[in-house]
């Protein structure tokens, strides 16, 4: 075909328009960022309220950890889970059973410029511990704060009837707000204002922008800008890491973790988390209202096989709390796979070989935790083998979340629920009370005076040593004997990052300390 002047012009115009649209230099590694911007591909995102007392959502707790300071910090390393380091408080001591004193760091400023003082601790603790605040579950109870001077506070619990020692570990998990913000809940909701290494700048759709806090007491972070990108799909997070668009990503599947290990530009990291995975039995309806049936079920389950499926995302643990929690112990009589014992217990409970048992629904999720569907099928088969008539229901996260908790009438759907529980402090009661104290028992509905008494006893202990003893010798063995839920294993978090990223510290409940991190 001969090209005429007209066709040539048309072609040239189209080419020109095309290159204008694309623009010079956009193609190629335009995505490569300068060394001071870190892009985090997050698996979860935040709520529409920035008030930390308004939610118990794990991804938002991770975001808040960047912005807010706490009185103390606990790195929760498995070798020393009880270690407490200073953050906004430099010293702390127990004055008496109901009084815990903190000496505060001086010269710290909030991101809006306000000086950090004792009034902020008082405002925060007294506001967030009110039972009407949704996150008051993190507090051992309501608390009064006495201001001794601008930089000394005393937590007082006598009025509410529990020992002040309960704040010993929890204080490393409770973000400190500005008293000015607490006075104006609307401002509190709109933007987070803390003393942490990063300050909040803005939210753009599914991206949150954080900037380095120049006045951070421990020195301005080298990472100037932190972009928090919400990327719900795990494969997309991995591909974004491979092509250099993301520097850091979390919640990898075991297979993804394996294949990323071989990549030259990527560093993988795994860490034992503060999360245990549980099978909760609905204890307030038949047949699991009978402890013998619960024990029969747990003796039917071979946890070694589950761990083989979960691979690197799980670690064996024989206890209802994770090894990074205060009080963890390898409970000696933790129920083991024992078909004979299972049959014996079933017969005792009046269901020989499972005869007479109703159909049981086992509810699990897919796409939230690693391998739940796969091991759900395995557990179902193991229970069926012993005569339990179990039906597995696998739901996507939103539908599953709706089925987990008990309803207004105290009953929850199904009979066995697969769920994890993760909290950001070594404090064991953040796991034990919401799940096993009859007043809460949010999922399993257990109502056992012995468990209640034991939980009260460990809470009311007057020294950490005494509390440790009660937890390890009484409370945790009692939970293993009564199994309102079976703790399957402790979760291991699998992450990957660009090998340029150095100096990040990963907390076992998800938050990341990037205050000393560099992007080489």
């Amino acid at each position: 075909m001969i090209s005429t002047r007209r066709t040539f012009l048309a072609g040239a115009t189209a080419l020109g328009a095309g290159s204008l649209l694309i623009g010079p230099g956009r193609i190629g590694r335009a995505l490569a960022q300068d060394a001071s911007t870190l892009i985090f591909a997050a698996a979860g995102t935040v709520t529409s309220s920035w008030d930390p007392s308004s939610h118990t959502i794990a991804p938002q707790i991770t975001a808040e950890a960047l912005v807010f300071g706490r009185l103390t910090k606990c790195l929760m390393k498995p070798e020393n889970p009880g270690e407490i380091l200073p953050d906004l408080a430099l010293e702390w001591k127990l004055i008496d059973k109901y009084t815990l004193e903190y000496k505060l760091r001086q010269g710290v400023k909030f991101h809006d410029g306000k000086d950090f003082k004792a009034e902020d601790v008082k405002a925060t603790y007294e506001y967030a511990s009110q039972p009407s605040r949704p996150a008051s579950a993190w507090y051992p109870g309501q608390v009064e704060v006495e201001i001794v001077d601008d930089y000394t506070v005393r937590l007082k619990t006598e009025k509410y009837g529990y020992p002040a020692l309960n704040f010993w570990y929890v204080s490393s998990f409770l973000p400190i707000l500005s008293a000015k913000d607490v006075a104006d809940p609307n401002v509190l909701k709109q933007r987070p204002n803390g003393t942490g290494a990063f300050r909040y700048q803005e939210t753009k759709g599914d991206q949150i922008v954080f900037k380095a806090n120049a006045d951070y007491y421990d020195g301005k972070p080298q990472i100037e800008t932190l972009l928090w990108n919400y990327v719900p799909d795990a494969n997309t997070r991995v591909l974004g890491l491979l092509n250099g668009q993301y520097h850091l990503t979390e919640r990898l599947e075991p297979e993804q973790f394996e294949s990323l290990k071989k990549e030259a530009n990527v560093t993988t990291d795994k860490g034992l988390s503060s999360e245990n995975k549980y099978l909760h039995f609905r204890c307030n309806k038949p047949p699991f209202d009978d402890v013998r049936v619960r024990l029969a079920a747990v003796h039917a389950i071979d946890r070694d096989q589950i761990l083989a499926i979960v691979g690197e995302a799980g670690q064996a643990s024989n206890c209802h709390i994770s090894p990074v929690k205060f009080g963890y112990t390898d409970v000696p009589d933790y129920p083991k796979f024992d078909p004979e014992m299972c049959q014996k217990l079933l017969a005792e409970a009046g269901f020989p070989n499972g005869q007479g048992l109703p159909e049981l629904e086992y509810i699990t999720s897919v796409g939230f935790y690693p391998k739940t569907r796969e091991y759900g099928e395995l557990v179902t088969a193991m229970l069926q083998e012993q005569g339990f008539n179990v039906k597995l229901t696998t739901l996507e996260p939103a539908a599953w979340e709706e089925q987990i908790y008990r309803r207004a009438d105290g009953q929850g759907p199904g009979h066995i629920i697969d769920v994890g529980w993760i909290t950001g402090s070594p404090e064991p009661d953040l796991v034990l009370r919401p799940n096993y104290y009859s007043k809460f028992a949010l999922i399993n509905g257990v109502n056992d005076p012995e468990i209640d008494a034991s939980l009260d006893k460990e809470r009311n202990a007057e020294s950490t040593e005494e509390r440790l003893k009660v937890l390890q010798e009484e409370t945790l063995p009692l939970l293993a004997a009564k199994v309102p839920s079976l703790s399957l294993y402790s979760s291991v978090f699998l992450r990957a990052m660009s090998n340029k990223l150095q100096g990040a510290y990963f907390y076992p409940n998800g938050p990341i300390d990037l205050s000393k991190a560099t992007l080489g």
């Binding site: 694309i22 995102t45 529409s48 939210t203 250099g244 939103a398 908790y405 207004a408």
Partner: protein, 329 residues
């Protein structure tokens, strides 16, 4: 002119019924499947009594027909409502458990969310169709012009290959090869036009097989028509016949196909592609809304999608009748 007015009046009224039906089906299905949005709005640990009260206040406990009536009334005034989940800045969010502080006014307007996302989707769809045409027109025409010869077989092979590649797989492979390994193009998210290219390729690979087959069959059929031979006998050149007559006549089935099949495929494809590429269009917005039980967004997108389908089919039929006056719809 009278035909055009009658045509549009009739088709718009039919279209409205279809959109209303789709809206009703989606509306009902959302409320029947498990997954109560109130638990997602307020968070899992909210006391049951608060959940129920807030659900009642939001009208989520009224009979479905009452809720639907209220919704249609709202939409008729141009108000698509507010997201259950997303905050005013558009950020996706888990639930806030602050039942006392929950205020629907603090949530993003659905119309604005869609308004922000739509240009991205249109850009992706446009580029995807362009790429698909660039591939399908030459291959399809060559196949139609040389029916039974090697170009025909090539057309068949290419379309068979493309149709059997799942778009999820193609997307992951293209990101891996073109972005992660070869470092030619960015792929994930959106920070400039170049972020649209790889996703558009995936859309094109999904669309082109149907186009190739339709073009080749239609061109071949027209070459067999008597008018083609007559034109040649009258001394018109082969190329004149092809470009002036065959292409014009072959365009009618292609247009119909576009309206009936491709728009549906395109919509479905965009959802998957946008999700994989974290591309901030309507597809991504919708998939996240489904995961989060964000009813107002799902409903609005369903209405807009069915409205778009109806409108495009209407335009396609109208264009067909202007190309070929014998057609009546």
């Amino acid at each position: 002119m009278a035909f055009a007015i009658e045509f549009f009046l009739r088709r718009i009224s039919q279209g409205l019924v279809i959109v209303l039906l789709v809206a009703f089906v989606i509306f009902t299905l959302l409320r029947i499947v498990p997954g109560d949005p109130i638990r997602i709005i307020l968070g899992p640990m909210t006391p049951a009594s608060v959940l129920e009260q807030t659900a009642k206040d939001l009208g989520l406990r009224d009979p479905i027909l009452v809720q639907f009536g209220r919704f249609v009334g709202q939409v008729a005034t141009g108000d698509l409502g507010r997201s259950f989940i997303r905050g005013l800045q558009g950020g996706s969010a888990g639930g806030s458990q602050d039942a006392a502080g929950y205020n629907p006014e603090s949530r993003a307007s659905v119309a604005e969310l869609i308004g922000t996302a739509l240009p991205y989707s249109l850009q992706l769809a446009g580029l995807g169709i362009l790429f698909a045409l660039l591939v399908a027109v030459p291959i399809g025409m060559a196949a139609g012009l040389r029916a039974g010869k090697w170009p025909d077989r090539l057309g068949l092979y290419v379309s068979s290959l493309f149709v059997s590649l799942p778009n999820i797989w193609v997307a992951v492979v293209l990101i891996f090869l073109l972005s992660a390994k070869a470092d030619l193009l960015p792929a994930i998210g959106y920070r400039g036009f170049s972020y649209t290219i790889i996703p558009a390729m995936v859309v094109a690979i999904e669309l082109s097989p149907v186009m190739i087959r339709a073009i080749s069959v239609s061109v071949a059929a027209n070459l067999g028509e008597i008018y083609y031979d007559v034109g040649m006998v009258r001394g018109l050149s082969r190329w004149t016949m092809i470009f002036k007559h065959v292409l014009r006549n072959a365009a009618v089935p292609l247009l119909n196909l576009f309206g009936a099949q491709m728009i549906g495929m395109l919509l479905g494809g965009l959802f998957v592609v946008e999700y994989i590429f974290s591309y901030p269009g309507v597809g991504m917005l919708t998939i996240n809304a489904v995961f989060q039980r964000d009813f107002p967004i799902i409903q609005a997108v369903a209405i807009l999608a069915s409205g778009a389908l109806v409108a495009i089919n209407m335009l396609v039929d109208f264009t067909s009748t202007t190309i070929d006056r014998r057609l009546k719809f």
